[in-house]
């Protein structure tokens, strides 16, 4: 599954990391452009028009968040933030500033590629999706039916709605706020404990039906992800 001639821009000040990412991405079929400075990175986005940006937050010339904000002012290019900072605050801040996903260094190569594929999939013009498959899990969006190992799992409307949002964004992190908005609309932002209860029920139901719940991952302090693989 090699993406055809996609361009990835790597903005990171560590030469070693750039070199490694270059090798990994190239093998995956990406054209890779490297750059070690934030300002340069912003102009490279304009010149190269990459299909995806991998951005480090600790840059020597400017703050990574600032780079992200500047790019977002005029570009919708998917951005994956890869940083050694592992606090939930930083992650949320990066996602709020417009990052599509966040990875903590050191990371696993397979995981990185899976994340890139996921955000790539999301950025493609949306075709009508009417079903979703992941291992034993099958969702028929038209019939609003969920099956695991070909057996129907009975979900409440809220549980179904949550699973649907996660499936549509599969592989990509969905923040708590996004989840709550999708389910309760804009006026239900203080419902994080309810969200947790519903997700807990959903998790138990899927788990009881034989789905490996490790695919339904919680990122502490950020949100949930329906993972492509258990990495």
């Amino acid at each position: 599954m090699k993406p055809a001639h996609l361009t990835a821009l790597v903005i990171d000040d560590e030469v070693q990391i750039r070199r490694l990412l270059h090798a990994i991405l190239e093998r995956e079929g990406y054209d890779v452009v490297e750059c070690g400075l934030g300002k340069l990175g912003i102009s490279e986005v304009a010149i190269v028009k990459p299909d995806v940006v991998i951005l480090d937050l600790g840059l020597p010339d400017m703050d990574g968040f600032e780079v992200l904000r500047r790019i977002r002012e005029w570009s919708a290019v998917p951005v994956l933030v890869a940083s050694v900072r592992d606090g939930p605050l930083e992650k949320v801040q990066a996602l709020d500033a417009g990052a599509d996903d966040y990875m903590t260094k050191p990371f696993n190569n397979a995981e990185l590629l899976a994340r890139l594929r996921a955000i790539q999939r999301r950025s493609e013009p949306s075709v009508d999706i009417n079903k979703f498959d992941s291992g034993p899990l099958h969702i028929d969006f038209v019939a609003r039916m969920v099956t695991v190992k070909k057996k129907e799992v009975h979900l409440t409307p809220i549980q179904y709605s949550l699973l649907r949002v996660l499936a549509l964004n599969s592989g990509k992190i969905v923040t708590q706020l996004q989840l709550m908005r999708e389910v309760w609309g804009d006026n239900a932002e203080a419902q994080s404990q309810h969200l947790r209860v519903h997700l807990s029920h959903l998790r138990h139901k899927l788990g009881d039906a034989g789905f490996d719940v490790r695919f339904l991952r919680n990122e502490p302090g950020i949100g949930y992800r329906l993972a492509d693989s258990v990495a």
């Binding site: 809220i158 389910v183 309760w184 947790r196 209860v197 807990s200 919680n218 302090g221």
Partner: protein, 524 residues
């Protein structure tokens, strides 16, 4: 105890020394003096009676008796008064050489002068009694001050008790200013003080401290001050200043000043002792931290260098035998995992030590949390019989998931490292009232024979601990638990093995059905 004994004997001798400081005569000498005084006065009276009359002679006898009250005890004094009356009556009152009275007033004068002498004696006795009682109070107070200040567990508490005692005894207010380690006075009085000196008072205080003199009110140095300041002087140095403020109309007697000086000396000695102890502790702490630095260096360099060595030789091997590289990869991965854990542990320990752990509480599914922790330890427990015992009906709880996950991971890795393969390890979660209990139980060799609390000290390792491990895992788990106002404990497991538990007081969300939720409003 030596100090206490000395104080006791001082208390016994102190009032006696003051009261009987003038040389008291022995009883027989006193009786001799009675005869001498009586004879002398009689002779003088005999000489002057022709010129002044017998009534004046009676007055001389009375005066002699009153003076004698100052030096004689009760028995001799009684005798003197009695003899004086008899002598006067026999030799001077008409009829002379007879014990009879002709006039009623003579008899009355005799009786009254006898009563005056004895009355004067009683008044003096009473005054002595009062003085003695006051001294006893002062002495007891002094003893209390010394004991409370010297024997208290916390110096600050002892000082507060000592000052309170002084206040009660002197009916005064006190301020204590203890010098800092740099020999300078602080900007404010000790918290134990019952009044804070006004700004204008500080000149007086500094003068007192610098010159070691009593200054302020009732003294010749700056008497306009509203309190009196006594230096806390020891043989070597001035430890600070003690301020005494008594009511505006009261006066400070000499005995009171002396008592305060005694208080000041005791406080000074105690403070000096505290300072010595403090200096000694400081030295001990420095030595301990030096030792800790060594252990840190040893343990951390071991934990960093071992995986580095593995990486080095593995990569060298790959460079030489590229075809065999695939067999080396697991070694590389395991070395990396170890390196990563050590770095994470060091960073987490630094966070705990610097007090930088503020839990970001959020609602969290305990079941999910335990699953995540198990996932994080990778294959560490793959050779153990590992069971997860997490009931599904646990409420949703509010914790910092990342921190608790890490604490659990550390418990699990600890169990993995200290138990033989094939051993049973259980991760168990349950609620006890409002406390979330997360336990890791094993059937391993059990806990080392040492204070179990020490296991949670950093760099402390069990006596028979196998090689490896930084000695930080449990300390971090405890740090994270405490950041949640909880605790991490270890105890022997019933039936053999060990049990490590995180006890976390948590806010819980009771289970509710979907009907009680906010209404569902689909957006699509």
């Amino acid at each position: 105890m030596v100090l206490k004994k000395d104080m006791q004997s001082a208390a016994d001798s102190y009032p006696a020394a003051v009261l009987h400081g003038d040389q008291r005569l022995s009883t027989s000498a006193q009786y001799l003096w009675v005869l001498v005084i009586n004879t002398l006065v009689a002779l003088v009276g005999w000489g002057i009676v022709p010129h002044v009359g017998y009534v004046v002679v009676g007055m001389v006898f009375l005066l002699a008796g009153i003076f004698a009250t100052l030096h004689l005890e009760r028995g001799p004094l009684l005798l003197l008064a009695f003899l004086n009356v008899l002598t006067w009556d026999y030799f001077f009152i008409q009829p002379v050489y007879a014990f009879r009275f002709e006039k009623l007033e003579d008899m009355l004068i005799c009786g009254m002068s006898f009563l005056v002498v004895m009355g004067t004696f009683l008044v003096q006795l009473k005054q002595r009694d009062i003085a003695e009682r006051r001294h006893r109070i002062y002495t007891t107070a002094l003893l209390n001050v010394t004991q409370s200040a010297a024997l208290a567990m916390k110096p600050s508490q002892g000082l507060a008790t000592a000052l309170r005692t002084i206040n009660e005894v002197l009916r005064a207010e006190t301020a204590l200013i203890v010098r800092n380690a740099d020999l300078k006075l602080p900007q404010s009085a000790d918290p134990a003080s019952t009044f804070q000196p006004a700004l204008s008072e500080w000149d007086v205080i500094i003068r007192c401290y610098q010159e070691g003199l009593t200054t302020g009110r009732f003294t010749s140095v700056m008497p306009q001050a509203y309190a009196t300041w006594f230096p806390l002087r020891t043989a070597n140095t001035v430890m600070g200043v003690l301020g005494i403020r008594i009511p505006a109309k009261a006066s400070m007697e000499f005995s009171m000043q002396q008592t305060i000086n005694a208080f000041a000396l005791q406080l000074a000695l105690v403070l000096e002792k505290e300072q010595f102890i403090h200096a000694l502790n400081q030295a001990e702490v420095e030595e301990a931290s030096e030792k800790l630095r060594h252990i840190l260096l040893d343990s951390v360099s071991h934990e960093l260098k071992t995986p580095l060595a593995a990486l080095q030789s593995a990569t060298d091997d790959i460079a030489q035998n590229p075809d065999e590289a695939i067999h080396i990869v697991p070694e590389l991965q395991s070395a990396l995992r170890r390196l990563r854990r050590t770095v994470d542990n060091l960073l987490n320990m630094t966070r705990v030590e610097s007090g930088d752990v503020t839990p970001m509480l959020d609602w969290c599914d305990v079941d999910e949390l335990c699953d995540a922790a198990v996932e994080l330890i990778g294959d560490a427990l793959i050779h153990h019989r590992f069971y997860l015992n997490v009931p599904k009906n646990l409420p949703i709880v509010k914790v910092d998931r990342a921190l608790i996950e890490q604490a659990l991971v550390n418990f699990l890795l600890n169990a993995a490292m200290h138990t033989p393969s094939g051993c049973e390890v259980i991760l168990r979660a349950y609620m006890q009232d409002q406390t979330l209990m997360l336990s890791v139980l094993d059937r391993g060799p059990g806990l080392p024979n040492m204070n179990l609390d020490d296991l949670f000290q950093k760099f402390v390792r069990g006596t028979h601990a196998p090689a490896g491990g930084s000695g930080l895992g449990l300390a971090i788990a405890r740090g994270f638990a405490r950041a949640h106002a909880g605790e991490a404990t270890a105890c022997p497991r019933e039936g053999g093995g060990a049990e490590f538990t995180l006890k976390l007081p948590v806010e819980t969300l009771d289970e509710f059905t979907d009907e009680t939720c906010p209404p569902y409003s689909p957006c699509h």
